[in-house]
Every structure is written in C-alpha cells, then in structure tokens.
C-alpha cells in the first residue's frame, strides 16, 4: 500500500495513470494545468506509457478525445471553467457519440467577472450534456473517482463520457494523504478496454455520428442516451461494490454524514461540503441534530437515494455553490424535483447560495441557517432563498468602490 501526500490535481493524474489511460489530448487552463503537466512529465520520463497531444483549444481537445475514444483507446483529459464552456458543444457531441472517456473538470467560477477560484456553475452547465458526473470532495476521492469513472464509462450498458469534478484551489492545490490503489488490484477492478468499443477499421467500415432527418430518429437516439445515463446508476452501484471489495473504500451515490438520525440535513456538493461536515459536528455539540448529504454521483441524479436519505426530515437546507440567474440554486431545484409529490418528504426545504468564486462559508452561517430551519419547521413557513454575504463583506466592497471612484477622479485630473 502506497501512501503519498498529493494535491487534488496530482491525485487526478494518478487516477489516470493507474486506470491505464493511454491517450491524452489536452489544453492548459488554471487551476487544472498541474494534471496535464504531471502526466506529460511521467510520459516523457518513461514512467508511464501514453501519447499526449496539445490541441489548440478545449473544443478541439474534446473532439480529439471523443474521436480517440471512438477508435478504441482509453482516453483521459482535463479542463476547468472557461475551458469546459469553450468545449461545451463537443461535450454534448461526444456524449451523443456514446464514447467512453474520462474528463476531469477542476471547478472555477465563470466569467464575467473573470476569476480563478471555484464554484460549480461550470460543471453544472454540463449537467444536461449526456456526460455522467462524479463530484469528489477529497484527494482520495479524486483518485478513486477516476478509476470508478473509467469502469462506468466503458460499461456496455453505459458507454458515455464521465466527468470527474473537483474544486479548484481548495482541492486542486491542497495536499492530503492519499492511499494509492495497487496497480495489481486495479487490473482486477478495471478490465481491458472492451473490443466492442472499437470503430474505424479498414475491414469494418462504419459511419459514426451521421445526421438524422426529423424528430423521430433524433428522439430515438436522445432517449437511448438518457436511458444509458439512467442505467449508469446500477452500474455505479456495481462498480462501487467491486471497488469496496477490492480496495476497502466505500462510495455511495450520496456520501452521508450523520444524516440518518438528523432533524436538519445540509445538502452540499464538493470540497466545501467538508465545511458543512465540520459545522455538523459543532451543531451536534450544541445540541442540534444536524447531518450532511453530499451528492458524489451528480449524473445520473440519485433521486431515489435522496428521497430515502431525506425521508421525514424536519428541514433540509440545500447550499448551492452556484447560481442560476433569475432562478436560484441548481441543486435546490433538483432536490425539490426528487422530493415533490412523494410521501414522507421533509417539512421544510430551504435554499442558500454560498461559496461563489471561492467565497468562504463560515460556521456562523451554517448555524444561522440551522436556526432559521428550526423556526421554519416550527412555524410551517419556508423562508426565502438566502444569498450568503456579510455586512463586513459589503463594507469592504463599498470601500473598494470608493477607492475606485477617487482613483477615477485623479485620472481625469491628470489628463486635463
């Protein structure tokens, strides 16, 4: 058993290396670049086999990845944020090609304003693409998720690209102890690439991704992709079971923390959910029965598991590290969608937006939300969605604006 201190990015690279990925079409972008630099260094120094090619853009990168995967090689790539959106056309396209590949997205807030730190609007923009999504919260989960993703993507019942998401900076650049899966055990977990996945051979001509005319054939193929994505739920469970047997680490579609006997449950995704986990501990010390449910599998959306996990709770607080302008939190609506119309659902479903562009979410905010949730349960009235922001932050912002205004005046005076 090898135990190393690794960043989230290095863990992602190790995942690809252990998974036996052999083709790496790539393009650099902060905060993902360390992943491809690590892989490139290993390939250059003969530490692993593989072919890396630098494309001119993420759009080209995802095209090459899809084409390579279609031709039957195990393909891995990585991007972030603007890059994911630049390649968005091709994410939808390669999902429609029904090709297995693994893409790590290192989350980063979207422009404008341009920034480097994380939130989840980038990955959630891909939620309808047909790509499956796993969202890691720790470095260990990152390396394991890449192995799980490779197996799920290549399963004949699925054959879809899988995106493994991790948060920029807070996870990508944070070193944590990671137990690397033994290569000999990985070969038990991951079979060789399925020969049925091969296309483009001289003796077996094939036309891939041809046009269709009319809604009938189009709907047929779109439904097929949806059904494959739904089938991936069972394939995930199987893969996670095999993973637990072989490596001794257990992954559920939902990673739950003290949620079984909780009155109040936070639902939060990604590395910031570890802040929620800490808040749960402190709330419990203060006598509040709090818990956490963290979606690890995001596509397919584990609606059944969510209903089970949130059954009969007094209150559920969804903390979205994303914002759908004019609507609110994306996960909040997805949780509501999983619950509505079913029996034994939580009395209160609250929404809070936090962590945009890496903004911290502090314990006081979790505690305030929990207190509000208890009031809501008692009064039977759900409070409006909260945009987490403190008076102090607003004061600092006003200060910056005042400086900007003064500087602007001085510039004008200089010019005159």
């Amino acid at each position: 058993m090898t135990r190393l201190l690794l960043t989230g990015n290095a863990a992602a690279a190790w995942g690809a290396r252990l998974a036996g990925a052999e083709y790496f079409p790539v393009f650099p972008i902060t905060p993902q670049t360390e992943i491809i630099e690590t892989l490139g260094r290993w390939i250059d120094h003969g530490e692993m086999d593989g072919r890396m090619v630098i494309l001119d853009s993420e759009h080209s990168m995802i095209t090459a990845a899809g084409a390579g995967a279609a031709a039957g090689v195990r393909t891995f790539t990585a991007t972030s944020s603007q890059g994911l959106l630049y390649g968005m056309e091709m994410l939808y396209t390669v999902a429609g090609w029904r090709v297995p590949l693994v893409l790590v997205n290192v989350s980063r807030g979207l422009s404008a304003p341009i920034t480097l730190e994380p939130d989840h609007n980038d990955i959630l923009a891909a939620r309808d693409s047909g790509c499956l999504i796993l969202h890691a919260a720790t470095c260990q989960e990152t390396v394991d998720a890449v192995l799980l993703a490779t197996r799920i993507a290549e399963d004949r019942r699925v054959r879809l690209p899988v995106i493994v998401n991790l948060d920029g900076f807070y996870l990508s650049f944070t070193r944590e102890p990671v137990t690397l899966p033994e290569a000999s055990l990985v070969s038990r977990f991951l079979p060789d690439i399925d020969p049925a996945n091969y296309s483009f051979r001289a003796d077996k001509p094939v036309s891939e991704a041809v046009a269709v005319l009319g809604g009938g054939p189009y709907s047929y193929f779109r439904y097929e992709t949806h059904l494959a994505a739904l089938a991936a739920q069972a394939v995930f469970d199987e893969a996670a079971g095999a993973f637990a047997d072989i490596f001794g680490r257990t992954y559920g579609a939902l990673q739950k923390y003290l949620s079984d006997d909780a009155d109040i449950v936070f639902v939060q995704m990604g590395s910031f959910a570890t802040k929620a986990q800490d808040a749960v501990d402190r709330l419990r010390e203060a006598g509040v029965r709090a818990g956490l449910v963290r979606p690890f599998l995001v596509r397919p959306w584990p609606a059944d598991a969510l209903r089970q996990a949130l059954k009969n709770k007094k209150a559920v607080i969804v903390i979205d590290q994303n914002l759908s302008m004019g609507m609110g939190g994306v996960l909040h609506s997805e949780v509501a969608c999983a619950l509505y119309g079913h029996n034994d659902i939580p009395d209160v479903l609250m929404s809070a937006i936090g962590g945009l562009g890496g903004r911290d979410i502090v314990y006081a905010e979790y505690a305030a939300l929990a207190e509000e949730a208890m009031h809501a349960f008692a009064s039977g009235t759900t409070p409006p969605p909260r945009l987490l922001y403190t008076e102090n932050e607003l004061r600092e912002m006003r200060k910056l604006q005042a400086i900007a205004a003064v500087e602007g005046l001085e510039d004008k005076e200089d010019a005159s």
Binding site: Y23, S57, A67, M90, T93, R201, V210, L213
Partner: protein, 310 residues
C-alpha cells in the same frame, strides 16, 4: 539535366478510374461542384479511408441509416474536424504500436469540409493540426459562401459576389487559404477543381503518397449559391481556370508550382457573366470599377507568376 518526372497512374483522361466508389442518390443539389470533386477524390483515395466531416453541405451525404461512402465516416462539428482527425489518427497509431490492430486495418484520415469551416471557424483547429505535423489529408470544397444555409458571405467569398448577406455584392477580398497553409510549410498544398479531373487525380495521387498535413482545395461551382443552371457547372469550372481566377497550383518542399498556366487568359467577365451572383456588375449598368478591380487582381497575380514579384 532534367529532373525525372514522378510517375503518375494518370497520364490521360482514360487512365482515370472507370468504376466509382461514391454511391449515388445523395441529398446534394443537381450540378454540385463539391460533390463532383469529392467523387473524383474518393475514386483515387479508395475506401481504406475515414472521412472526418465538419458541418457543411457534405454533412447531408450521410443521413441515418444511409451513406454513399464505402469506407468510414465521422461527423464532428463545424470548427473541429481536424481535431477529430487527430483523435482518430492518434488512436490508430497507438493501437498499431501495441499490436491491437494490424497495418492492414489502418485507415487514411481525410478531413472533409466546406470553405465555411476551412477558411473560418475551423482555421484554429487546422493550424494546430498542421503545426503538430498530423498525418492527414484535408479536402475542402470551396463554394465561396456558407452554401448549406443559403449562401451567406464566408471567408472565401470573392469581391463583387452577391450573397444572401451582401445583397449588393461583397466588398471585401477572398482569403488566400493556399498561402495560409503554405506558410505552415506542410507536406503538400494544392488547388484543384472537379472540371479538371486529370489535374485533380494527379494531385490527389501525389498527396496520398506523402505523409503529413496535406490540403486539396477544390473550387466548387455551386448552382444554387452562385445562381446558374446546373448544366453549366463544368463550363464554369473550365472558365475559372482559363480566366486565371482560380489558379491550379501545388506547394511541395517550399516551392509553389503552377500545374496549368492559362495562356492567353480569357477575360474574367466571361466567367462572371455566367453567374447570377455577379449579374449586378453588368446590369442594369456595368460596374466598371469593380470589374476592373477583379481583372487587375487576376492580371497582377499572373504577372507575378510569370515574371516574379514586381
């Protein structure tokens, strides 16, 4: 001492393949100069090919569950066909290198796009593929506009041409894709046209024998986009060459060679007059300024070819 002329299978017209690989009954327009070129290219390349296609007219050749191609096909997007070619080529090379497929199972990778992708949206992906020395052939059928959507102005639209977005005639200049490619110093760049099948076949044959990035840029007279009777496609193609407005040439080893020097050159008006897209230059009254500009650019081009840079 004379250099030994490379042998070609195609000495005379009767040497051209008599059996054709491309199936009939595609959704292309009658008289399509693009399909004419694709058909001729395919006969020379053969079916051990995978066509990697970008959004354009030819995307509609393969409609589920039918295809006129006997080899393979992959539709990508408008901007990224060369990147798709990269993925397929790399994958086949990886599979060959570790013995998972034999050399016999290998395919030649052919990018197939119109001018919209080749001159515009796909240029970044193309430039990247050339700089990486990707082993692929790029076939562009250039009908000088976004033909599949009704002939809007593209990066290949020439001066004076009326398009559905420049209804009074395009005032800019056709981009020089041949030189853009040549500036990358790739293995091969050639212009061609379906109405000169022998010249085209020789160029495709030569390109097929080389490795690295290779371009066949075929002018594609377009009855619907250029507004002429479909039966005129070949005649217009001949005039494109005879007027010198579409020079037939190739770039190999850093040198540009013209494979046909029209002499004497027919005035460009003969070519323009056959096409509705230029009719506004002649009626209700002649636009002498634009006509003179088109002719003088052609004259200047050939003066430089014949006498060197002026």
């Amino acid at each position: 001492m004379t250099a030994e002329k490379p042998e070609s299978r195609f000495e005379r017209l009767k040497d051209l393949p008599s059996a054709h690989l491309l199936g009939a009954g595609t959704a292309m327009c009658a008289g399509c100069g693009g399909l004419e070129a694709v058909k001729e290219v395919y006969d020379v390349l053969g079916k051990k090919t995978v066509f990697v296609n970008a959004a354009g007219c030819m995307t509609l050749t393969a409609i589920y569950p039918f295809t006129p191609f006997q080899g393979s096909w992959l539709y990508t997007s408008m901007a990224s066909a060369p990147a798709g070619a990269q993925g397929v080529r790399d994958a086949l090379d990886i599979l060959k290198a570790n013995g998972r497929i034999s050399d016999d199972e290998d395919l030649d990778v052919v990018v197939l796009t119109g001018d919209g992708a080749a001159y515009g949206m796909g240029l970044s992906a193309t430039s990247g593929a050339i700089e990486r020395d990707l082993d692929f052939l790029y076939l562009c059928y250039d009908n000088e506009g976004y033909g599949n959507t009704g002939q809007q102005t593209s990066g290949a639209t020439p001066l004076g041409a009326r398009t559905s977005t420049n209804t009074l005639g395009f005032t800019g200049k056709k981009k020089n894709l041949f030189d853009i490619w040549a500036a990358h110093d790739p293995a091969y760049v050639a212009t061609a046209i379906g109405s000169e099948p022998l010249d085209l076949a020789r160029k495709v044959e030569k390109a097929a024998g080389l490795t690295g990035p290779r371009l066949i840029l075929a002018l594609a007279p377009c009855p619907t986009g250029w507004d002429y009777d479909p039966r005129e496609t070949v005649a217009i193609g001949h005039l494109a060459v005879k007027t010198g407005i579409w020079p037939l040439k190739e770039y190999v080893d850093g040198k540009v060679t013209h494979t046909r020097i029209p002499h004497p050159r027919v005035p460009v008006e003969k070519y323009l007059k056959l096409q509705g897209r230029f009719r506004h230059l002649f009626e209700p009254e002649r636009n002498e300024a634009v006509l003179a500009k088109i002719q003088s650019r052609v004259d200047a081009y050939w003066a430089e070819v014949e006498n060197g840079p002026q």
